[in-house]
Symmetry: D3
Subunit: 203 residues, 6 copies
C-alpha cells in the first residue's frame, strides 16, 4: 500500500508561476489552514476556469443563508459521496467537522446520510440534495413541498440545490483529474486543534 | 396539451431590474439571437452566481480549443440528454445545429449518440463525456488513453471533461428550477435563417 | 459530422421486389406523406413479420379509443425515448407534432415527460407508460388505480399499456437493425405544411 | 398461501363467445396440449390485436431457422426472466423443456443463463438477447460481430433479436394484465408424458 | 445443451475425506433426502467455514419462529432470485415446495414475488426481504413499521432480515464457486413423493 | 446535529445478562481494544446466531492466508462502502488503519477504491470483491482469471470472495438493526496510540 498518486492527471502549476490574483488567494487560504488544498493547484492549470470556479464557490458557500456553514458542507459531503468523489468527501468532510464542531458527522454522512446523527430537517435536506445529484430529472414540485414542510424557505431550497449543482461539477473535475486530497484533511477536525502539531511531530 | 409551464419555479427578475453588467450582457445576447434565452433570466435571480456561471461558460465554450464549437455543443447535448435536461437539450441542440450547419445531428445525439451521424473520433468523445456525466467514478486512465488514441490532446480531454462538468451543474440548476426553454429554440437551425420570419408571421 | 448511417444493418429490399400487398400499403403511405418511412423498408426484409407488425400497429393506433391520436403518439415518444430509440423518437415525434398541432410537445416529451406542456391526466398516462416500458414488473394494481383516478377507463388503460408493449418491440427492432429515421421527419410538423417545399427547395 | 390470482386484470372472454377463427385456433392448441393456455384467452379480449400477436408469433417461432425450436424458446425464457415475467417464464419454460427434451435447462436459464448447461454458442446467443431486452441502446455492431464469430448467420441474428423484441412486447402485456400461467405448465416436460395423468389423478 | 457444469470451481472434497462431524451431518441429510446436496460438499472445502455456515443456517432456519418453515424458505427463494443465484433458487425452491405442500409457489416467487399466490402479509414480508437484499441502505424505520402493520412482531422482523442476510452470503458463495444444484432438486415437491422412484426408474 | 441514534433498533442485552461464553469473548475484545464494539452487543440479542457469526468471522479473518490482515480489512471496507454500511465502514476502516499502519487508506477505499493508494494487485482484489458484492451474478471465470494473473492463488480467491460474502451478510444485519458504530472507532489508527488518552482526556 505505497502507490501514492499524484495531485492530478494534468499538469499542476507551481504556485510562483500563477497569476497574481490567484496566487494571492491561494496564499490567503494556505495561511489560514496551514497548507494549500490541492484543488487550488490542480484547477489553476486553467486560470480563467479557476477564477469562475472560485467565484461560484464563494457566491454560494460564503453567502448569508438560512443554512448554517456546517449544513452547506454536509450537502457537499453527501452528494460527493453519492458520486464516490475522493477529493470532495475528504476535503469537505474535514471542513464540515470543523464547521460543525462534530468529529463524527462527516463520516456518517459520507457513508449513509440516512443514519447520520442529524436532525430530521437536515436529513430531509440531504435526501433532496442526493436525489438532485443522482437522479435530477426525478425532482418534482413534491420534493420542494417536502422541504418547505420542514421549514426551508425557497431561498434555502435554491441554496441546497445550487450547492448540489456546483459540486456535481466539482466532483466531475475531481474524477477527470484524479484529484488527490491533501493528507492534512484526513485528521482535520477530529482532534483539538492544539493537539495537531504534537501528533504530527516526529515522536 | 395546453399546460404551459413558467420559466422557473423561482422568482424571475425583470430585465430592467437587473444590475447593469448583467443587463448589458443579456441585451447583447438578445440582439444577436433575437430573444432572451430563459436561462439568463432564471439564473439572474442570484446575480453573483449568474456572473460566475457566465464566466465559467465563457471560459470554456469560447476558449480556443482543439474542439470545434459544434463539438462542444454536442457534448452539452449528449450529457444533458443523459440527465433528461429539457432546457439544455433544447437550447444547446439549437446552438449545435447552428454551429454545425447540420439540422439533424442534435436530435440524433440527444436520443442516441451511439447512432448519430458523427465521426468515430466524435463518438469516442461523446462516449467519454456521457460516462463522466453519469458514472464519473468509473472514468479511469484507460478512458483517457482511448481519447488520446483518437487524436485528442490532453488539453482537448480537459475541455471535454470540463464542459461535461459545467453542464452537470447547469442540468441540475435547470431541474431545480424547472427551467423552460424558449419556444424559439425548437426551430432554430432547422431551416434557412431568412425563412424564419416568414414562418412565424401570422400566415 | 458526415458519417451518414445506412437505413438498416440488414439487407433492405427494393420497393419493386416486395410482395404486392406490402408494396401497395407502402405506396399508400408514401403518397400521403411524400416519402417512404424507412421502417417499412427495413422490416420488409421479412414479409410475414412485416404483415404482423403492421396489423398490430393498425389494430392499436387506428382503433377508436378514449385516447386521442396525439396522445397515442406521445406514448410512443415517451417510451421510445426511455429506450433511447432514435427511429421511433424522431418518426413518432414528427407524427405527434402533426396530430397534436403542437410543434413543441414531442421534443419536450422526448427529453423529460415530467416537464412537458401536457395536462396532468396526460402526465399520469405517460408516467404509467414509461414505468411499464422500463420496469414492467413494478407495475401493480395501484398504478392502474391511479390512472382510473385520472378518468381513464380500463379500455384506455389497455390501450396505453398495449401501445407501450408494441413499441417495446419496435424499439428493439430499431436497435437490432440500427434503423435510421428519414431526414424528412426532423422538420415535419414544425412549420406550416405549405412552407415545407419552399424550405427544401434549393434556395 | 392461497390467494389464487385470476387469469387477467381485464375481462376474459369465454371461448364460445370468440370469433370463429380465433376459437378454431385455440381449440387446435388445446387439443394438442390438453388445455387452453391463458395467454390465448387473456389477449382475446381484443380480437384484432390477438390476430396480429399470433401471426407475429407464428412468423418467428414456426419459421425455418438456423436456431432450433428449443433455442428459440430459451431466448424467450432468458429475456422474460430478465423482465420478471411470470407467465412467459413458466409457459415458455415448459415448452423449452419439451422442445429440448431437457428437464433442467429452462429453470437454469430462468435463474442465471450464465451458468446454465448450454453450449458456449448458446450462451453467446442468450447474452445478446438479454442485452437487447434490458439495455437495447447499448447493442452495437460489436455485439453482432461476436455472434457471427460463434457461427450465427445474419438471418439467425435477426431471429434472436426479433424473438427478443416480440417477447419484450409479450412480457409487458403479461405485466399489464397480470396474466396468470396455467397450473399445467409447471410440471410439463419434467416427467415422462405418460406419467402425467397418473400424477394428476386423485391418488 | 450438454455442457454439464461441475459442482464447484474449487476443489470438492470426497465425503470419506471429511472430518467426522461434518461427514456425520452430511450423511444424516443424505439419508433424509436421498442425496447429498452439493452445497454441503462445495463448502466443505473449508471445514471451519462449513461449520459456521451450517450453525448459522440451523440457528435461523430451525428456530421456533412466528414465520412458518415455508415462509422462511420463500424468503430464501425471493432474495436468491433477486441475486440470480441458481443453486439457492433451485434447492430452496424445492424445499419451499415440500414445506408449503404447494407445487407452484416457489416458481412464482422466483420469477415475480409480486404476482405469486401468497397472502398480502406474505407479500409484504417478501417485499421487505428483497429490498434488504438488493438496496439495504434504503431500509428505514418505515419499512419495519409496514411489517408491524401486517402483524409481524419484532422477532419476526429479525428473522426475515437475518434470513435475507444469511442468504446474501450464501448467494455470493454460490456465485463465487459457480455452485451447481443437484438434479434431484428440480422435481422435488412437484409430484407425490411415492411417484418419484417410478418417474426416475428407467422406463 | 444532535440526534444521537441508539446502538440498535432491536433490544440490546446487557453484558452481564449474556451467556458465559459470549460474555467472555466480549470481555476479551474489550480488554484489548478498550471498549465493547457495538456489533457484539447488538447481535447478542440472538446468542446462537452470534456464536455462528463470530465463528464465521474468526474462521475467515484469523485464518492463515495469502492475504495480509490489512488486505482482508480493506475488502470489508470496500464492499461495505458499496453497501453504504455505516457500522462496517467505520469499524473496519479503523481496524484497517491499525493493521496497515496507514492512516489514509481506509477513507480512500471507502470513498473510491479505484483511486486509493494501493498496489495494482490490491486494486484488482478490491474490484473483484466489489463486483461480487454488488452484482454477484456477473462474476465469471474471466474475473477469477484476472486475479490469478495478479498472482492470487485459488485459496486467496476463496478468501476474497468469502470475506465479501460474510460482510454481505453483516452489512444487511447492520442495516436491519440500524447498528451504530462506537465513537471510538472514528479516531482509531489515525494518531499514535499513546496520544489517544491525552486527546480524549477532558482538556
Amino acid at each position: 500500500m505505497s502507490n501514492v498518486a499524484p495531485i492530478s492527471r494534468f499538469p499542476v502549476p507551481r504556485l510562483e508561476d500563477l497569476p497574481d490574483d490567484i496566487r494571492a488567494r491561494i496564499e490567503a487560504v494556505a495561511s489560514r489552514s496551514g497548507f494549500v488544498p490541492n484543488v487550488f493547484l490542480a484547477l489553476a492549470h486553467r486560470p480563467d476556469e479557476w477564477r469562475a470556479f472560485v467565484a461560484y464557490h464563494d457566491a454560494l458557500m460564503e453567502r448569508e443563508s438560512g443554512l448554517t456553514a456546517a449544513e452547506k458542507e454536509l450537502i457537499v459531503v453527501a452528494t460527493s459521496a453519492a458520486n464516490d468523489c475522493l477529493y470532495c468527501v475528504v476535503a469537505h468532510g474535514a471542513i464540515a467537522r470543523v464547521r460543525s464542531r462534530n468529529p463524527l458527522v462527516s463520516d456518517q454522512v459520507a457513508v449513509d446520510w440516512r443514519k447520520a446523527d442529524v436532525a430530521e430537517r437536515q436529513r430531509a435536506m440531504l435526501g433532496f440534495a442526493v436525489k438532485l445529484a443522482v437522479e435530477p430529472a426525478r425532482v418534482t414540485e413534491d420534493d420542494l413541498a417536502a422541504l418547505r414542510y420542514h421549514g426551508f424557505s425557497d431561498e434555502d431550497i435554491w441554496d441546497i440545490g445550487a450547492i448540489t449543482a456546483l459540486f456535481a461539477m466539482s466532483n466531475r473535475m475531481a474524477h477527470l483529474t484524479a484529484m488527490r486530497p491533501n493528507d492534512e484533511f484526513y485528521l482535520m477536525g477530529r482532534v483539538p486543534k492544539d493537539a495537531l502539531p504534537k501528533l504530527q511531530s516526529p515522536a
